[in-house]
Amino acid sequence: MIVPRQSSPPQWDYPKYRPGEPVALFIPCYIDQFYPQVGEATARLLTRLGVPVVFPEGQTCCGQPAFNSGYWEEARRVVRRFCDTFAVHRWIVCPSGSCAAMCRVFFGHVDPDDRIVEVGRRVFELSEFLVEAMGVTDTGATFPHKVTLHVGCHSRRELGVIDPPLRLLESVRGISYCELADAEDCCGFGGTFSVKMPGTSLAIGRTKAENILRTGADVVVSPDISCLMHVHGIMQRDPAMKHVRAMHLVEVLVAEGDGQK
């Protein structure tokens, strides 16, 4: 009998976070190196909300680049290392939906070992952790700008995280939210896809960039800064789009409230 392997809107039974439980930060490699302020903001925000935060220093990567490129054996080694590093942590929070999806959804494909799958299940994307596990929608931030939101496809479809970023943004003081047309469409980044098929990737990205521009927003925000690395990279090349800033959602959620700009 074939076990149907299906695509369905994911529905997680979110565990509830109890005050005082420590949270381990998983800071993806590109954030660590190119967007360290996102990691800092994540640590500050959680601390401000009363969460004891730890950063296991042995961490490297979730293995997604190799996994998506087909190199599962190479990814497996990195995935196992991830699980060793995070084995003792009950809550693992990551400011990237894509990396969180790798852990929670795809670890089992790389290595069906129960222990690996179980550690992967404890990884949460930041906004879903805040809204679904902690029940927080107001982070006390003030951000008086016109903002539009891009939710990456891994957040949207693999994790089913669509609502949390929006609810968090809604509670930000002074914000003026501009709805993005065709928000459900991909930005064209797709990790190694962006350099394997750059022509197509750029064509998809340009449509997204045009839609972002059309909202009239000054800032485009996303729970996945990797999408923005691509889309914003396109926008920087175009004088008409250059003025739009790209920020990770968490940078907005800590804005001004804790002294950050």
Binding site: S7, G50, A66, V78, R157, G190, P198, I234
Partner: protein, 485 residues
């Protein structure tokens, strides 16, 4: 399997590694209409409370059928044969073509009218018939246009999606000697007038099969133009082509599939015509050719099996950001889009089509819209894994070495640190390089590289500041003025 018409190497899209973007003529039309269809599809799905229940049921019925093909196909054969049909099996394209040619020869067929069948595209049947001196006329309007233009369909449901009314006007005046027009009604009338003659003249009709019901021995064909009805009933002889995966256990299951197929394929509640053919009409002949042509390869790979549940609605094509930009031909064979990227490597061999699973950003929209819940994005990743490990265009030593180095570098924090320092240095110095090659060139072709930040990596910041981060009182509803740093 016939190799002669597989042109994956020449598929422009797959050749495009770092070169120009391939765009078929009228791609803006394609992009917009595909997007419109997807939006409509999402609205339809959202408006039907039982949509998810239908999908679930359809998926399970198909899963059951795929596990029991041996029994269901025999049951179907027994029941439809009892009512005068002849069932023939074909392992591959040659065998299927041979069956068709034998039947045509026995009945002295000169003209065949065909309604839409993707299987016949797999077989390259029109060429074979042509070579045997039999004229085959596509009667589905889109297929008719594509055939007249000497092209391949660009979409599995709307084959001429890439042609504008102007293209069609030019085509008709060039090939049929009709006065040029772009009026839709006039164009349709021209096609109708020419096709009517062929319907009346034909000695044989051919069709595909949307569903084959085992318990009643019935084939179901859905359509909107009436051409399938004419093709299957006007000539004295009807030959239906189906893949082995088309059989479902019972006619009781049909309504769910009809509900899903019409809504997903064209946004209709039901197609204009739904034909149920229970056997040969007295005085006429009915043949059903059941084709494998690589489908058992799919069954053999458990992680890919469910891709055989596909009901060919074309929704995943419409939803796919890659398909929307590149169109159907770019995929090199009969089935484009995400479903094509998943089944083509099985049907023609991963050694020929191993590149296709990489033609995706893995956005997952295909899986979201699939009416029978095929796990397309995950199957794409599974096939990528196979493609880099089996003989295929994607099995590359350079890539292997790169990823092994990556894996080594990511397996310890010290190595990670060193590797990342090199990446930062690379990105920092890239702007002074005279030219950008490989992946770097691919990135900067149309995008700026990210700025290397002035501040240190997060982990260095944490070492210095992590200990000072003291959790504040557990969260209660705060007002913005409360926060102090």
């Amino acid at each position: 399997m016939s190799d002669e018409h597989i042109d994956l190497e020449g598929a422009p899209f797959l050749k495009d590694k770092t070169a120009g973007l391939y765009e078929p003529a009228g791609s803006k039309t394609l992009e917009q209409s595909a997007q419109r269809s997807t939006k409509q599809n999402r609205e339809t799905a959202a408006s039907i409370p039982q949509w998810e229940a239908w999908r679930e049921a359809a998926s399970r019925i198909k899963a059951y059928a795929l596990s029991n093909l041996d029994k269901l196909l025999v049951e179907f054969e027994r029941n439809i044969t009892a009512r005068g049909a002849t069932v023939l099996y074909a392992d591959n394209a040659q065998e299927a073509n041979q069956h068709v040619l034998d039947i045509a020869r026995r009945h002295h067929v000169k003209t065949v009218v065909k309604s839409k069948s993707m299987v016949s595209e797999e077989l390259e049947l029109n060429h074979k018939l042509d070579a045997a001196g039999v004229r085959a006329v596509e009667t589905d309007l889109g297929e008719y246009l594509v055939q007249l233009a000497g092209q391949r369909p660009t979409h599995i449901v709307t084959p001429a999606l890439h042609l504008s009314a102007e293209d069609v006007g030019n085509l008709f005046s060039e090939k049929l000697g009709e006065p040029f027009t772009t009026e839709h009604q006039k164009l349709t009338d021209i096609a109708r007038r020419h096709l009517r003659e062929d319907f009346l003249r034909a000695d044989m009709g051919m069709s595909g099969v949307n569903f084959a019901m085992a318990d009643t021995g019935t084939i179901c064909i859905v359509e909107n133009e009436g051409n399938a009805g004419l093709s299957t009933s006007t000539p004295p002889l009807h030959v239906a082509l189906m893949g082995i995966e088309k059989v479902i256990p019972s006619i009781e299951h049909l309504p769910i599939f009809l509900n899903l197929l019409a809504r997903s394929g064209t946004g209709q509640k039901l197609t204009t015509y739904t034909h149920l053919i229970h056997g040969a009409t007295p005085g006429k002949e009915l043949y059903v050719i059941i084709l494998d042509n690589g489908r058992t390869n799919v069954l053999r790979d458990p992680a890919s099996r469910m891709s055989l549940a596909c009901i060919r609605c074309g929704t995943c094509l419409n939803a796919c950001p890659v398909y929307r930009r590149v169109g159907g031909w770019a995929y090199g064979w009969v089935y484009p889009g995400p479903i094509g990227s998943v089944i083509t490597p099985h049907l023609v061999g991963i050694d020929k089509a191993g590149t296709l699973p990489f033609a995706s950003s893995l956005c997952g929209y295909c899986g979201e819209v699939c009416p029978v819940k095929i796990d397309l994005p995950h199957q794409l990743v599974h096939l990528r894994h196979r493609a880099v490990n089996e003989p295929s265009p994607m099995n590359s030593l350079r890539q292997r070495v790169t990823w092994q180095l990556w894996s080594w570098a990511m397996s310890g924090p010290k190595r990670y640190r060193a590797a990342m320092a090199m990446v930062r240095l690379g990105v920092r110095t890239a702007k002074w390089l005279p030219w950008h090659f490989w992946e770097l060139g691919a990135w900067t072709r149309g995008r700026e590289l990210p700025q290397v930040p002035g501040r240190p990596p997060f982990r260095d910041w944490w070492r210095k500041n992590g200990a000072q981060l003291k959790p504040q009182a557990p969260h209660t509803e705060t007002s913005p003025g409360d926060e102090q740093s």
